[in-house]
Amino acid sequence: MKASWWKILCIALLFYTVIMGFLGPVPRLPILNEGIRNLYFHVPMWFGMMMILGISVVYSIRYLRDPRLAHDDIAVQSAHTGILFGALGLVTGMIWARFTWGAWWVNDPKLNGAAIAMLIYCAYLVLRNSLEDEGQRARISAIYNIFAFSTLVPLLFILPRLTDSLHPGNGGNPGFNVYDQAKFMRPVFYPAVIGWTLLGVWLTQLHVRLRKLQRVAEEKSEAVAS
C-alpha cells in the first residue's frame, strides 16, 4: 500500500468516531434522543463533501491554467467522491428526518438546496460523458465545475438561512452548538470530520492512480498496435 501517515490517521480517527460515537456522552434532548449521535456521521459527510468538491474546483482551475491531464484526473475523481459523500449525506439526513420530523423528506429550503446541488454535480458527470476529446472534455467540464461549486454556497448556506427551515442551523433554528452540553460532542465531532474527509481523499487518490494506470496501459497497447 502506498504508505501515508494520513491513511493511518484516517483509520484511527474512524474507529475512534465509531466507538466514542456510541459510548460517549451526549445531551439528553427530547425528540432527538440518541439520534443526536447521527451528528458524527451526517454532518461530516457534508463537511467532507465541501472540502473534497473544493479540491475538485481547485484542480479544475489548475487544469485551465496548465492543461495537464493529471489535474483533470484529480478534478473528476474528487467530484465523484464529493457526489458520493453528498448522496450519503442525503440518505443519512433522510433517516434522521424520518425519526425526528416524521417524514423521509420535507419541502424545506435546505433539503431542496442539497438535492439541487447534487443534481448540478450529476450534470457535471453527464457533461463529461458527452464529450469525446480528452482535452475538450477536461476544459469544458472544468469551466462547468467552477459554476457548479459557486452554486453550493448560496444553495446550502445562504438561501436556507434567509427563510423558514426545519433544518438545525437555518431559518431561525439553533445549531447544536448552542446547547451547553454540546461541548461533550465536540471531541468526537471534529475528529469525525477529519476522519471521514481523509477517507474521501484516500478513495479519490486510489481512483486517480487507477486512471493514470489505465491511460498508461492504453498508450502502450496503441504503441504496440501501430
Binding site: M1, I19, P30
Partner: protein, 69 residues
C-alpha cells in the same frame, strides 16, 4: 397575579425537559448491550477498511509493474 400564573405555567410546561424524563438508551448501557452495537459497527468499518487497503496494495503492485517495464 399575572406574573405568578405565567411562572406556574412555565414551570409545568418545562417539566418534560427534566433530564431523567428524556428517553435515552440507558437500558442498553445498563445491560452492556451498547457494546454489541459498537462491536457490530466496528466490524463493518473494519471490513470496509480492509477492502480499501487491499485495493491500495493492488494498485501499488500495478504501479510497480508499470514502472519496471
Amino acid at each position: 397575579m399575572k406574573k405568578m400564573l405565567s411562572l406556574l405555567i412555565a414551570l409545568l410546561a418545562s417539566a418534560n425537559l427534566f433530564a431523567q424524563e428524556v428517553e435515552m438508551a440507558d437500558a442498553l448501557r445498563a445491560d452492556g448491550k451498547i457494546y454489541v452495537v459498537v462491536a457490530v459497527v466496528s466490524a463493518m468499518l473494519a471490513g470496509v477498511l480492509f477492502y480499501v487497503i487491499r485495493l491500495d496494495r493492488k494498485i501499488t503492485r500495478l504501479e510497480k509493474d508499470a514502472g519496471d517495464k
